[in-house]
Subunit: 148 residues, 2 copies
DNA sequence: CCGCCTGTTGAGACTGTGTCTCATCTGTGC
DNA sequence: GCACAGATGAGACACAGTCTCAACAGGCGG
């Protein structure tokens, strides 16, 4: 539901407005990742009058409070995924768009190794993984017929 | 110099044209990462008449042959770095913009771990690191005075 | 319960990035 | 040196994201 997003907004001292409630609901409905443009389209489809600027502003706020994470698709598009407010990464399914959060998984030691190799002080990192989720793997790909 | 880029183009069967030579030289001059817009500006600054479209097209080609890699800055900008044609990653210095290539550094085992945890088949990944390079670390930051 | 103050909103102008078209040009193989 | 396919440039175009500003509406105090 959209509750957690509203709660997070409230806790961070933001007003709980109608447009934000609507957007929170739209985001909660998203299966996988989504772009700002998709949210705008979704809002219009449901006849919810929300300005484009508001969508961008709200996404910015949500990212700031960690209710949403911004990811860069291989195509260069900027997308978002709703998520728990904690540092982590995502695997994105390139077939259905769904995402899964992943934790450290040994990344920390990679960072240390990189720092050692290069002499850099590494402050920030971004890891994005793309692949195919278990569900999509289960439904046989059948490269013929459709994809062919 | 710009030679390696031209060689790579040649080997991949592309024509060695004047605009490409000019762009290869401009890219070779770039210290750290650069954007398409910066290349356009650099070309204009040197009174080299290269169309904007050509810059974008050339960058696309160079990325395809691996002579250049596209990275996503934390700001959301799309930038490029000239590099060796092999899979690897970069650490970007957020102070001077310079980049260093890094190899595996244990990432491979992270990928395996993620696949195990999530059940995804991981096909593609992108890792971007941001920090401060040894040279910039050496010149004291002095957060007062300027940054204050 | 009402009204005020401030944060928020919507419309639309605006900036900048990247794409596309199409006529023209230029490498390259012959 | 010629011809042809690939490459180019100019500019129109599509689209993402930002900004401004007047109007609005949450949330608090009274």
């Amino acid at each position: 539901m959209s509750a957690p997003i509203m709660t997070a907004l409230d806790r961070a001292g933001y007003r709980l407005t109608e447009p934000r409630r609507a957007l929170a609901a739209l985001i909660a409905d998203q299966e996988g990742h989504f772009t700002a443009a998709e949210l705008v389209a979704a809002a219009r489809a449901r006849r919810i009058g929300i300005g484009r600027a508001t969508v961008f502003r709200t996404l910015e706020v949500l990212e700031a409070i960690g209710a949403v994470e911004r990811i860069d698709l291989p195509t260069g598009e900027h997308a978002y995924v709703g998520c728990e407010p904690a540092h982590h990464h995502h695997v994105v399914c390139s077939r259905c768009g769904r995402t899964s959060e992943i934790d450290d998984a040994g990344l920390r030691s990679v960072m240390r190794e990189v720092a050692r190799q290069t002499g850099y002080r590494v402050d920030e990192h971004r890891l994005e993984l793309f692949g195919v989720c278990p569900a999509c793997l289960a439904t046989r790909p059948r490269p013929r017929s459709i994809t062919a």
